[in-house]
Subunit: 236 residues, 2 copies
DNA sequence: CGCCACTTTGAAGCACTTCAACATATGTGG
DNA sequence: CCACATATGTTGAAGTGCTTCAAAGTGGCG
């Protein structure tokens, strides 16, 4: 389904990569993979994973739980995303959950580090991808802090379209959207009930279509404008 | 006032550093410094700084502005924090503003990279500090998404006490707190009016004292409990 | 078929906002 | 050093965006 080299496609979108680097990435993705069913927890808060984990196929999310059961989704992961790379003996302060059936490749740090240092182009691409991830995280903070429910959801939809396009997972203005309304609520800091009402309004206004887990953004520019979406933070 | 080597103090709190590494940090901090008055913008959204900027003295904050004037503070910077290090040609998606008079040291990338690679201990300490910064960012997201006004403010106070302690900027349970109520509102996604009322409640309940820009946490464990604060994410 | 997860809608409530006014610090120029 | 302007803090009253509670409808899957 997804081309085997989602990672190569992502990295190449940041910096041009030569054939040598692309072959190296292929080799890396040939390492032991793991397939997970939807809704399976892959990494758990408190773990100290010793490998580099990269998502190759499917959607996943990062979440933090509070002791009283409240849960916040702090990010969505798409193919080519770095789920985690160990540093020192830092513990995971979040969990990673598959949202669809996924494929993850797990690379021993001992194989990953020389690989990166031997290919400066790849190192730079990884660094840029990391910076963009951080920018996305900041933008989520702005969303939760300053935006209305409509803006939060609209902004998320615009962001996802922009992230899915370069990896070939968008068809025109639409894409497969495996996130339930409950999860959408946990990502936007709203209640599922209110998410449902906002989605209804967006549909009634002809801005989006959402059926059978497929999201169509029918009027992108109108939605982007009302959600104050500016893609500048997603691409250097 | 602040010891000249706030950076050394911070890095050493992550990994033991030998005398050689400490001398190297001294040399680094001897590079051209800049002093800024309070409320001066240091880095501006859209900039492409070419140097590594490290905060040595004073408080600063990161903020993102929306086109309609709404503003979100996405983080507070304390002495020893890395304000920015350039990667590729990524643009800043946020601004950095001094909250007190500050001292910043700006190091050319050409001097910084060899310095890091020659001292693996420092590289590791920097990497851990970076990871903790990201964990803080995630925790802020959880705050804005899931927590009540009381919990947001209480959690922030607990976090700041924990961050200020290891750099010697806390006296017992108190510390200088240069953040205005307007800024506190912009950091917590609330209105200044409501921040004021929550602070009044905290005072009336004997949890905190806040006068003349000095914050006293009078009952830390009670505040931490009511704010669901768990310091695990701040230290490995 | 029947279960369970997800979606949808209504009605009532509340945490936080908005608006407005005043009080208190902070700073600045004459 | 005072007079004035401006930033910051404080309080009240009214409004609202979102939540909470409750119930019913829909769809996928063993």
């Amino acid at each position: 389904m997804t081309p085997p080299n989602a990672l190569a496609q992502r990295l190449a979108s940041w910096t041009p990569l030569d054939a040598d680097a692309l072959r190296a990435i292929e080799r890396l993705c040939a390492m032991p993979r793991r397939r997970l069913p939807a809704r399976r927890e892959f990494l758990r808060e408190g773990d100290r994973p010793v490998q580099v984990h990269i998502l190759l196929e499917g959607w996943a999310c990062r979440q933090v739980m509070l002791p009283d059961g409240r849960r916040q989704i702090v990010g969505f992961h798409l193919p080519g995303d770095l789920l985690w790379s160990p540093v020192g003996d830092v513990r995971l302060d979040f969990s990673v959950l598959a949202l669809t059936p996924t494929t993850v490749v797990s690379i021993p740090t001992g194989s990953f580090e020389p690989f990166v240092s031997q290919h400066p182009g790849i190192a730079e691409a990884l660094a840029m991808q990391e910076r963009v991830s951080q920018a996305i995280q900041r933008r989520w903070l702005v969303n939760l802090g300053q935006r209305t429910a409509f803006e939060r959801i609209g902004h998320l939809f615009c962001e996802l379209l922009h992230r899915l396009e370069p990896i070939g997972m968008a068809k025109g203005q639409g894409f497969a959207f495996p996130v339930t309304q409950v999860e959408l609520a946990e990502a936007t800091g709203l209640t599922p009930v209110h998410v449902n009402r906002v989605l209804r309004d967006m549909r009634l206004q002809g801005l989006i279509g959402l059926e059978n887990r497929v999201l169509q953004i029918l009027q992108f520019s109108a939605l982007a404008q009302r959600a104050l979406f500016d893609p500048g933070y997603l691409a250097p």
